[in-house]
Each structure stands twice: as C-alpha cells, then as structure tokens.
Symmetry: C2
Subunit: 234 residues, 2 copies
DNA sequence: ATTTGAAAATTGGTTAACCAAAATATAATA
DNA sequence: TATTATATTTTGGTTAACCAATTTTCAAAT
C-alpha cells in the first residue's frame, strides 16, 4: 500500500493544547517561579483527569520550546525564562498556525541569502568539496534527464552547512522536506528550469569558492527570482 | 529544590542516533521508495535488539524532520522526499551540533530585520494593538526599576506574529527561551540599556504603525547594533 | 476466474505495572 | 542539639501487556 496523507489537526493535538493551557494556569495559580518544581506527572494526570502519557506529551512539547525541563528521578521544572515570558510564549504556541507554502518560500529565501554570504566568508576546504560534490550530483542527474529536486535541495543544504551557523542550518533542515513535497506537488521544476539551474548553481559555487559574498548573494538572488516568479505566477 | 541544569548529550541521544542510522541503512538496503512502508515497530525493535520505545522515539524524530510518517493501525511510511534527499538529510541530522550563542544571536538579528519589515507592510490593527501593549508593559517594568528581559522579548515576539509569516514566527518562538537564558546568564541587559531600549522600541513601533518598512528596519538595526556590540565585546 | 465477506493477523497507539535514581523522612550516634 | 546513617517514599523513565482500527488471508458464492 502506498501513502496518501492528509494530516489534520487531530484530537490528540487539541487535547494536548488543553493540557498545556492547564499547566500554564497551574503555574500562574501557584506562582511558580523559574527553577520551581511542577507537581509530579502522576499528580497532574489525576488532577486533569487524563492519562500520564498525555501529560508526558504536553511536557515534552513545552520542553521543546524551552519552557519546562524534566530531570530524571527528580521532577519537571519551570525553565529560567520567567512567568511573563512563559505566558506570552504559551499564548503563541497555542495559536501557532499550520505553515503555508508562501511563508515557507519567503523564509527559505531569507535564510539562503544569508547562508550563501556566510558560506562565502567561512567555508573551509572540506565545505567547498561537499558543495562541489552536491553540484556535480545535481548536474549528472539533470543531464540524464531525470528529476533533480532532491539533488537541488542537497546543494543548498551543503551551503547551509558551510555557513557555520548551526541555528540556520537546523532551520533549513526543518523546512527542506516540506519544500521538496510542495515543489513536487506543484511541479515547480521542469527540464528547462533544471538546465538553467546548473548554470546558476555553478555561478553560486564559484562565488563561494572565490570567497566573494556580495557576488554569491547576487547570484543566489537571481536563482531565486526565477523560482519565486514561477511559484507565484501559476 | 531549585534547578541548576547542565544538559549534556545523553546516552539516549546517541542510542537514538544509532537507530536512525540503522533505519537509514535499512531503507537503502531494501530500496524503499517514497510512500513505501517500513517494517513494523516490533520487527525493527527485534532486528536492532532495542526496545520498541527506542524505535518509536527514533521514528518520532524522523517524523519531526518530515522524513517518515506514522499512520495509526497501518504503518510507518517513507515520506515523499526520495532516497537521495533522505540520505543527505539524515547525514545532517546526525551531525547536528549544539546551537552556540553566536549562531543564535546572528539568526535572531537576521529574522528580526525581516519580521519588522514584513510587520510594517502587513500588520493589522489588532497586531498593532498587541505590539503597543507589549511596548507599554516593557516601559512600565523598566521604569519600575525591575529587570525587563521578558517584556523585551515579548515585544519582539509580537512583531514576529504581526509579520504574517508563520514559519518565521515559529522559528522566533524556538530561539526565544534560549536567548532569554543566555541574556540573563551573561547579564546582557542593565538598567541603562533598558532605558535606551524604551526609546528604540518606541521608534520601531512608530515605524510599524506608519507602515514604513525601511525606517522600521533601520531602527531595528540600530537597536541590535548596541546589543550586538554588547554581546561581542565582553 | 472473479467477487465477496468473515475470520485471523498485524499495525501504531495506549495503559498500567515496574525500575532505578533521587529526595525525603526517620532513627541512631556523638 | 547536630550530624550521620539508613529506610522509605517519590520521581521520571522504561517495559510489556493490551486495544481498536486496519490489513491480509482464504474459502465460499457467483
């Protein structure tokens, strides 16, 4: 059987949001400060009339955003960000929207115009080799007539890695699969685009190689202008 | 008891990485294509000689990066990104470094110079009110002589929300708690900085209100230049 | 040969019992 | 009274049994 996904906001998500909301209320009601301990998972489960797993899931999400921290055999603690920031952040977490394609592309362009500049300045020789390898792989696939969306993205990820900025690199990783799926869904890349892509990728690579950040950014901008128009004019 | 954290790369993380690596090898060895089904959690657990929970954790992480997708009572599937991109991405996931303060600040500045421009263009009236409220709260706290790091960050988060870009907004949320903790750790903000901050925040707010993106970005840049120097010259 | 339908097996998710480390309470000692 | 040693309780994490939805199997009917 093959997959045909249509992920919706499931019940478990909304239950988790309810629990997060209740944890927030508890922290406020009890005036818990940074470093204070939350009631145990078992007590929370009983208090909220849900299972301990539900509590653990909610805590895990709040841990992801740095609001709580669990210490084994000790307890779950309010992180060191203060009650005001915590309330504001939970508001935003509960109000997070599904990420739309436009935001995704907009963000990708922003990040990449930065990574390509940083990569030009900071790339090591091994960074450069990785980028070159990705470029060669892309070129091979395009010239063989196959779809090269994946090799395309890997070229860009190699640049992100060379930027030396671990945060941006992580962000690029998180948006890449969604980008790939959207691109293939909307058929963003055709053969003609790909042949042009080889030229543009090569120019970007050369600019990084010669450590010319301004030129690198310029070439990346051109590369995206085609893409951008293609995405928005269909 | 109060918390004094020093999170290190735990054993569980490295075990998870080993499992991720093995899942990758399996996908390659079996030539699984997008949409194909992975062996069941139970079989993987037996094959890799680990518990089913370990398998579930690894799958959950690969799900976060969009590489796998679990369907209840059906199976876990390779997402629609292709084997080449998958290999490249798993390489990067396994090689992810801890996020350093410099990357964090660099990324924050990049994101905020964009959000403030977008917010100027797109902000609704209710966005504007939220930003104003955050600004007022910040001013109140500073003038009362208290530490206002939290109100400071909430002002910036309000702008991120007004940018209308859900992806950037999510990213801002994920880096905010780390920023707060680092700021308090390094005592980035003192009283003098905060009083200056009121002026700068107000200027940014006015630029967003009058929908002047260039001015808004300019003011944000000034705001960060002080911060940036403070962070790097200590 | 094809279709149908019910039974059996398989699936990810859930629950509750269990574990070892940590925190706390208690008792013994100085 | 203060301090140390020990037993008990509490903690988040782990494990294994269980569940309901889904998929597969396979024989009966057309």
């Amino acid at each position: 059987m093959k997959l045909e996904a249509a992920k919706s906001f499931s019940d478990s998500t909304s239950l988790q949001n309810v629990i997060i909301e209740k944890i927030r209320e508890l922290i406020n009601y009890k005036n818990l400060e940074p470093g204070d301990k939350l009631p145990s998972e078992r007590m929370l489960a009983e208090k909220f009339a849900v299972t301990r797993s539900n509590i653990r899931d909610a805590i895990q999400q709040l841990e992801f955003y740095g609001i709580l921290q669990s210490i084994p055999q000790s307890g779950t603690f309010v992180a060191n960000i203060g009650v005001i920031a915590m309330n504001g952040m939970i508001d935003e977490i509960l109000g997070l929207e599904e990420q739309d394609f436009k935001s995704l592309v907009e963000t990708r362009i922003l990040l990449e115009l930065k990574t390509v500049k940083l990569a030009s300045l900071r790339r090591t020789e091994s960074d450069l080799k990785r980028i070159k390898d990705a470029l060669d792989a892309y070129e091979r696939t395009v010239k063989s007539g196959e779809d090269a969306v994946q090799e395309d993205l890997l070229f860009h990820l190699a640049i992100a890695k060379a930027s030396g900025n671990s945060t941006i690199n992580t962000f690029m990783l998180t948006i890449t699969p969604q980008i790939i799926m959207d691109f293939e869904k909307y058929h963003v890349c055709d053969k003609r685009m790909s042949m042009l892509g080889i030229k543009e990728h090569t120019e970007i690579y050369e600019a990084i190689k010669t450590q010319n950040p301004a030129l690198a950014k310029q070439k990346m901008k051109e590369h995206f202008s085609v893409l951008y128009q293609y995405c928005y004019n269909k």
